[in-house]
């Protein structure tokens, strides 16, 4: 059909790629052909050891200062070197250690002890396409290193830093172990239909999947919060950037680390429903006949358990000053607290680095692979557990499941036991980097990566499952593959002039190609014994052919960008950094395919000024200011700007059905980037000789040209190409969202007395989110807004509580204002005319609170006393509101006895005589402070120099308690949809993004976890 044109396109593609590649290759050859050489006499020898444990340090570079003469220590730490004269000075340098210079002074033997350089490691910040010294940073950047990670059963990297960074809100909405990609929001939600998650960069791989790295393999997180920092990622930086750096092997002694823990996870809190006896008693009190089969069933307990998870991680690493390697393998098995839910994952990773050609060439190879098995349960099971009559049995006498009937009523144990839903994910990531130092300070680099993610899913409902009248077996299989190819070339040049002027220059080119494809098959009505493994045995056409449903999809996107950064530092006092990036994306129309994303930021290190030299209590004081523009194209469909034909049902002709095709979307060739402009002003400070450090940030972020599906009249002519609207919606750039806020972070070493140390850190963030506009000349947003969100029930009477409207934040609730009950137990509201009405649908709808927190905070403490270490961490969120679905539905006594209800239905809410209605009555303060993390460890005494270098045993706990005025099960809810592996956003996710803070009645409970673990280092 369209093969010829595809081929043509392919040829054109290849030839243009060839020429670009050729140009780059020639450029590389040119710079590589520049080369250097040199000479050396008098022998000096000695041994280099670690100042900490006196162990020998192999691979230490020993060189004569001012020459190119040098050598490397051997396996025993010994070296031998010819020096030109007794005046020579030897330089001992080694990765991770403080370099030492020693004058030869006529000696023939020089032994050196090198001190490990913890400080140096901390003070380098990864800023994208390079690193900067922390003192040089002019943007808003936060760093969390592994020593500050959260403890416990951590099944995804971000859980390790949840609550640790001011302004970074990571929400794991429940205890489902399959929630391995939490919703992440940095400085508020700034997008409606496009993605709102920050860009994840793992070891330089842009958009790398979070689950490709085991939490144990992570060295540190660098969070680029403001646009002046994120602008180097241009079109992909609008939601901020989280850069993850994995652990690398350290030169010197080979280390083997083994970490293991066992976790015990249980439901933190059940819904407070009537017990069987209370159920009977309430019926007697009300003179109601109930169906009492004489059983005492706690349906919540029937579908849950204490889940025992375990995690084992083994790594080996080492190297010399020329090479380093680290290999690790981690297996996590995390069953869920709900029966038949669970997750396990095997991660393997290899990081190898090698220097060559006089250390001018640096090659790094990073390979990671993982495979996970997931078992999902349907959250509806908890709705069924809510509703089910507690006097009913779980099983019939013959051992089959007892099945009650009624609206949304079934046996939840049957649901979680009989239905299966599982998936296997495989992830493979290959990343190679090559840097060459052409002349001193000038480096060229190439970075290439290939990532492949596949999933294979199976869902099966047996005919034996009879809930909701089911009588058919249904099986589904689906598979998916996401590929991501990235290639980048960079040139950087760093130079110091005249001692005072430092310049860092960077230029680069990046190209990325992403693709997503999948297939789906479903069939029904076959013997249960086949499961979902032989779907063609099911329903068939009269001619015997397969009748099941079949679907497949495939799409791709391409991105390219030119990037640059210029930094200039004068006397370490006056700092300026400018980024620019020009990006193109195939997701946009030909007219608006490229965007330009500049930024500039300045810093003034006040503490370096002469007049501050006398102020001894201030160790660091820096003022920063930056402005930048970033873009967003995540989450939108690959082919949104194109006019495409797709299937549009079947028509009946000549006694049979034929496929009809037509336009499937309103193509928008004018589509372009969503852009965010952010201003950031920050102060870094350090007092008391650096024991108290902190920063304050103020920011204002305006996101314009919001990508969103706006309404359009079918039949209207639109856009620059005069197309006709075929559906009532079009993806277009219209609105504006503003986020502004303040962030504070403090880190205080309270006590530092040899074997007793107490460090505390606190972060506070306030963000104000507001939808500024959603209309322009062409598109008019509905005057009374659009509603989103549901309570997870098909029951009538519950309007969607969340409301998208100009002038209000995302997550605004709108509904009837409750003013009290009348003497007949009816809800009272006012209608637009001010009259009292009893039906929320007749009432005037008003804004009734929003789900945006006023303040988010994290407070961490770590105490080391001799061999003991103790840490605890509180995380909080204050001022947000929640629409309490369980109270609306199960706090309503009229549902009794067809449904079990909350105890409160007969206490606080006993007067209610109407069916459930949503109103301000159910919008509740959901502020909370949670003791999120606690850990107590003990370092076992081992002799230094032995086989075991260190050993630690610990116990830790997660979600130990929560302080909240909210009377629902848990105040912390989904704060938005998590990013799909391809970034796609479907309607359900859009609803989650635009309706945070809705507590549905179908859910998975939050858990409390206790962990016992060991860390061994050999």
């Amino acid at each position: 059909m369209n093969t010829t044109s595809t081929q043509k396109l392919g040829n054109a593609t290849r030839s243009s790629g060839f020429f670009v590649g050729l140009r780059l290759a020639l450029a590389c050859l040119f710079v590589l052909s520049l080369s250097v050489a040199a000479y050396a006499q008098k022998a000096v020898s000695g041994k280099v050891t670690d100042s900490g444990d006196n162990s020998a340090l192999p691979g230490v570079s020993v060189s004569v200062k001012g020459t190119t003469t040098g050598t490397v220590t051997g396996a025993d730490g010994a070296y031998r070197l010819n020096v030109p004269s007794d005046d020579a000075t030897l330089v001992f340098s080694f990765v991770g250690y403080v370099s030492q210079e020693v004058a030869v002074g006529g000696r023939n033997t020089i032994d050196v002890r090198l001190a490990s350089d913890v400080q140096a490691l901390q003070e380098v910040v990864v800023v994208g396409y390079g690193e900067q010294k922390k003192s040089d940073i002019t943007g808003a950047v936060a760093q969390v290193t592994s020593k500050d990670f959260n403890n416990g059963v951590i099944n995804n990297p971000l859980q390790a830093v949840q609550g640790r960074v001011a302004g970074l809100v990571i929400t794991t909405p429940n205890g489902d172990p399959n929630q391995t990609t939490p919703a992440i929001r940095l400085r508020g939600t700034s997008s409606l239909a496009a993605g709102s998650d920050p860009l994840i960069v793992i070891d330089g791989v842009i958009g790398a999947p979070l689950n490709s790295v085991a939490p144990e393999d992570i060295e540190k997180f660098d969070v680029l919060k403001d646009a002046s920092a994120a602008a180097i990622y241009g079109s992909r930086g609008a939601n901020g950037v989280i850069i993850i750096t994995t652990k690398k092997g350290k030169a010197g002694r080979t280390t083997v680390d083994y970490n293991s823990y066992v976790g015990f996870e249980s439901v933190a809190k059940f819904a407070d429903v009537l017990t069987p006896d209370e159920f009977r008693q309430r019926a007697r009190e009300r003179n109601i006949t109930i169906q009492d089969l004489g059983n005492n069933t706690n349906w919540f307990e029937e579908i849950t358990r204490t889940a025992v998870s375990h995690n084992n991680s083994l790594s080996i690493g080492g190297g010399t000053d020329k090479s380093n390697y680290r290999a690790s393998i981690t297996y996590l098995n995390q069953p869920g607290v709900t029966l038949n839910s669970g997750f396990d994952r095997l991660n393997a990773r290899l990081n190898v680095g090698q220097k060559a050609l006089n250390d001018k060439l640096d090659v790094q190879l990073l390979v990671s692979a993982n495979t996970s098995n997931r078992k999902f349960i349907q959250y509806d099971a908890f709705r069924s557990a809510f509703r089910a009559n507690p006097t009913l049995p779980v099983y019939n006498e013959d051992g089959t499941f007892y099945q009650p009937s009624g609206f949304e009523i079934e046996n939840p144990v049957a649901r979680v036991s009989q239905l299966t839903d599982s998936r296997r994910d495989n992830q493979f990531l290959l990343n190679g980097k090559l840097f060459y130092e052409v002349v001193n300070g000038l480096r060229v680099g190439v970075n290439g990566s290939f990532s492949m993610y596949t999933e294979n899913g199976t869902r099966f409902t047996p005919s034996a499952y009879t809930g909701f009248g089911n009588r058919l077996s249904t099986g589904e299989r689906y598979s998916r593959e996401v590929q991501d190819r990235l290639v980048e070339a960079t040139v950087s040049y760093n130079k110091t002039f005249g001692g005072m002027h430092r310049v860092e220059l960077l230029a680069g080119y990046t190209y990325q190609q992403l693709s997503n494809e999948g297939a789906f098959v479903r069939n029904r009505d076959f013997p249960d014994v086949f499961g979902a493994d032989n779907l063609n045995v099911g329903e068939f056409n009269t001619d015997g052919t397969f009748l099941g449903e079949v679907r497949s999809n495939r799409s791709e996107a391409r991105l390219d960008g030119l990037l640059g950064r210029v930094s200039y530092y004068y006397a370490d006092k006056y700092l300026i950094t400018a980024n620019f990036r020009r990006d193109g994306s195939s997701r946009f129309g030909a007219n608006n395919r490229y965007g330009f994303f500049p930024s500039v930021s300045v810093g003034w290190v006040i503490s370096q000024e002469e007049f501050m030299k006398g102020v001894s209590f201030i160790s660091n004081l820096k003022l920063r200011a930056g402005y930048g523009v970033t873009g967003n194209q995540e989450g939108i469909a690959d082919y949104a700007p194109r006019q495409l034909y797709g299937p549009r049902g079947f028509f009946f002709s000549n006694g049979g059905y034929r496929r009809a095709y037509d336009f499937i979307q309103n193509a928008n060739p004018d589509l372009q980037w969503e852009t965010s402009a952010m201003t950031n002003v920050g102060i870094d400070f350090g007092f008391l000789q650096g024991r108290l450090n902190g920063s304050i940030e103020f920011y204002n972020k305006d996101t314009r040209d919001l990508l969103f599906n706006y309404g359009i009249a079918i039949g209207a002519t639109y856009g620059s190409q005069n197309l006709t609207a075929v559906t009532p919606n079009i993806l277009a750039n219209v609105g504006q969202v503003n986020n502004r806020g303040v962030e504070l972070a403090f880190d205080y070493l309270v006590i530092d007395k040899g074997d007793f140390q107490w460090r505390t850190n606190l972060n506070l963030a306030h963000n104000r989110n507001r939808v500024v506009s959603l209309s322009n000349d062409e598109f008019t947003f509905p005057a009374d807004g659009i509603r989103y969100g549901g309570f997870g029930t098909g029951q009538g009477g519950l309007q969607p509580p969340a409301w998208l409207q100009e002038g209000y934040p995302i997550g605004q609730f709108q509904g009837a204002q409750f003013i009290g009950f009348d003497d007949q137990g009816r809800f009272q509201y006012r209608n637009a005319q001010g009259q009292i009405v009893n039906d929320a649908s007749q009432a005037q709808l008003v804004p009734i609170g929003d789900a945006q927190p006023r303040l988010t905070l994290g407070w961490g403490n770590s105490i080391i006393f001799k061999a003991f270490d103790l840490s605890f961490f509180f995380r909080g969120s204050l001022g947000q509101k929640v629409a309490n679905g369980p109270d609306i539905v199960f706090g309503n006594p009229t549902l009794f006895p067809n449904n079990n209800v909350l105890r409160s239905a007969f206490t606080d809410y006993r007067q209610i005589t109407q069916s459930p209605q949503f109103s301000s009555f159910y919008v509740q303060d959901a502020s909370f402070i949670r003791m999120d993390n606690f850990s107590l460890g003990y370092k076992l005494p081992f002799k230094s120099g032995g086989l075991v270098r260190s050993a630690r045993v610990y116990v830790s706990g997660q979600n130990l308690f929560v302080i909240t005025p909210y009377n629902g099960i848990d105040p912390e809810l989904q704060a938005g949809a998590a990013r799909d592996v391809y970034g796609t956003i479907n309607n359900e996710q859009l609803g989650q993004n635009l309706a945070p803070g809705v507590n549905g009645i179908s859910f998975y409970p939050r858990t409390r976890t206790f962990v016992v673990g060991v860390n061994f280092s050999f």
Partner: protein, 506 residues
């Protein structure tokens, strides 16, 4: 050393070459067909002009859900928490709907305009194509009839809607008066008719034929007084005669088999069902009458794939308008419902009673708090026992031959020619097993239409023509202002197209 560097350089260059296989930003479209590459053959072209047909599936969606409950044939009582839907259904019963609610008014608007735009695109594609296609003119004529049908639906529901054709330009389509829309429908049909096929055989069934176009023309002319203020009763008669005299159509002796599961293969049903929505559980979803009307517990009774929703039923007055002996009364499910001879029991969420026998009773206690068994249900569209899909396979008529007979009878009656009208009415009564009438009144004619076309999307239109819609009363429905004879233009549409003016009264 230099050699090494060279080798490295070549390696770097090679790496760049192999990885940078493309710097082209033009992504390849894989799972859809870009409009510059499709359609290319005659078969492909024909497949791109047919979505105006597939759109018919929505006729018994939103339009049905506002037509039915706003008239006396259907009531959707709120049953405890169920069917509250923020009062949408109650607003239809009591004629208090607004431009915002129920959402089905917007659904009906979009149903109409989607069909219109699909027809326009199809006409443009055929006109623009250089491919040789058999019957090009006929295909365009079919699309014009389909477009006229969608305009008929919009004219009936909303009145003043914009006329958009394949030649329209301009950002927002300008509004037309109801008379202009009426004139457009009539002129389009008259222009298309000569180019269409006649007959009701396999080749024609399901397509726009002369018979369909004349029936739609008769329907439009019959409503001329309502649509334009000028009655055109006399013009209805020749339009009906063109159908009657074509010999392609006849009354099906078995009334209920017109709606039976296998009706697509029943020659009698195909001769009566002039225009159909070719519903199919797999290929043309939307036949969900059983889901709307049956009680949850009847899933087991009929071995359905999904649990029904227990909503739509009728009021006692309407049910009682069917005399005993009327074959059409078989459409109602009334009394105790049984599985294997045992009466089904259920727990009533409204009354709190347990183990209540499922006994459908004509009386509906209250609109706001009906019990789960209140109201007689419909099985006119035969319930497909043991269906593995939620959607059913019965084709559903839009226009039937019985309507042609009764339209002609009505026109004759309005012109004072009752004697000529009577045999037509009696032929329909006779098929239902009812005795012949000897005289005709407007009320009898309306009631006959009610029994004949109950739940077929025609009742509201009939009530308006007999001035019983706003002016009439029935349970839960007082006399309401005449502006209620049109639905309001939905709020969403007013926002999207600022050139639209709201209908009077809203």
């Amino acid at each position: 050393m230099l050699k090494k560097i060279k080798i490295t350089g070549i390696a770097v260059g090679f790496l760049l070459l192999t990885t940078l296989n493309s710097c082209n930003l033009e992504s390849t479209v894989f799972d859809s067909a870009p409009s510059d590459q499709f359609p290319r053959t005659e078969a492909e072209l024909l497949s791109t002009v047919s979505s105006a047909y597939t759109n018919l599936g929505g006729y018994y969606g939103s339009p049905f859900e506002i037509n039915g409950p706003s008239s006396d044939e259907i009531v959707v009582p709120t049953r405890g928490p169920d069917w509250d839907d923020q009062g949408s259904w109650r607003s239809l019963e009591t004629h208090t709907w607004t431009p915002d609610r129920p959402g089905q008014t917007n659904g009906a608007w979009e149903f109409g305009f989607t069909g219109i735009v699909n027809a326009n695109l199809g006409i443009s594609r055929i006109n623009a194509s250089t491919l040789e296609i058999d019957g090009k003119d006929r295909i365009v004529a079919e699309l014009r009839v389909l477009r006229a049908f969608y305009y008929y639906v919009l004219c009936d529901l909303f009145g003043n809607v914009p006329i958009i054709t394949e030649q329209s330009t301009g950002q927002n389509p300008a509004q037309n008066t109801r008379t202009e829309v009426y004139n457009f429908i009539v002129s389009e049909l008259r222009a298309a008719i000569p180019l269409l096929r006649a007959g009701s055989g396999t080749a024609e069934y399901g397509r726009m034929t002369k018979g369909v176009a004349f029936t739609l023309l008769a329907k439009t002319l019959l409503n001329s007084q309502i649509f334009t203020g000028t009655a055109r009763w006399a013009e209805v008669i020749p339009a009906c005669d063109s159908v009657i005299n074509s010999g392609a159509y006849a009354l099906n002796p078995d009334f209920m088999s017109n709606f039976a599961v296998g009706n697509r293969n029943n020659p009698n049903a195909r001769r009566e069902n002039i225009m159909v929505v070719p519903y199919d559980g797999v290929r043309q979803g939307g036949n969900i009458f059983h889901m709307r009307t049956l009680h949850y517990a009847q899933q087991a009774q009929f071995q359905l794939a999904s649990s029904p929703w227990n909503g739509f039923c009728t009021i006692a007055e309407f049910y009682n308008s069917f005399p005993d002996g009327d074959a059409r009364k078989a459409m109602w499910l009334v009394g105790p419902q049984r599985i294997n001879g045992r009466v089904i029991t259920y727990n009533d969420a409204v009354t709190g009673e347990t183990a209540v026998p499922l006994d459908f009773r004509p009386t509906i206690a209250a609109l706001e708090r009906a019990t789960q068994r209140d109201g007689v249900r419909s099985q006119k569209v035969e319930i497909q026992q043991g269906n593995n899909r939620t959607d059913q396979d019965n084709h559903m008529p839009i226009f039937r031959y019985a309507d042609v007979l009764l339209m002609k009878a009505e026109a004759l009656f309005r012109l004072g020619r009752s004697t000529e009208a009577l045999p037509l009415v009696n032929s329909v009564r006779d098929r239902a097993g009812l005795p012949a009438l000897t005289s005709l009144t407007a009320d009898e004619l309306l009631a006959e239409r009610g029994r004949e076309f109950a739940w077929e999307n025609l009742r509201r239109n009939d009530l308006i023509r007999f001035d019983r819609f706003a002016n009439g009363t029935w349970q839960f429905k007082p006399v309401t202002p005449r502006f209620r004879e049109l639905f309001p233009i939905p709020t969403q549409q007013l926002a999207r197209n600022p050139s639209l003016r709201q209908n009077t009264g809203y």
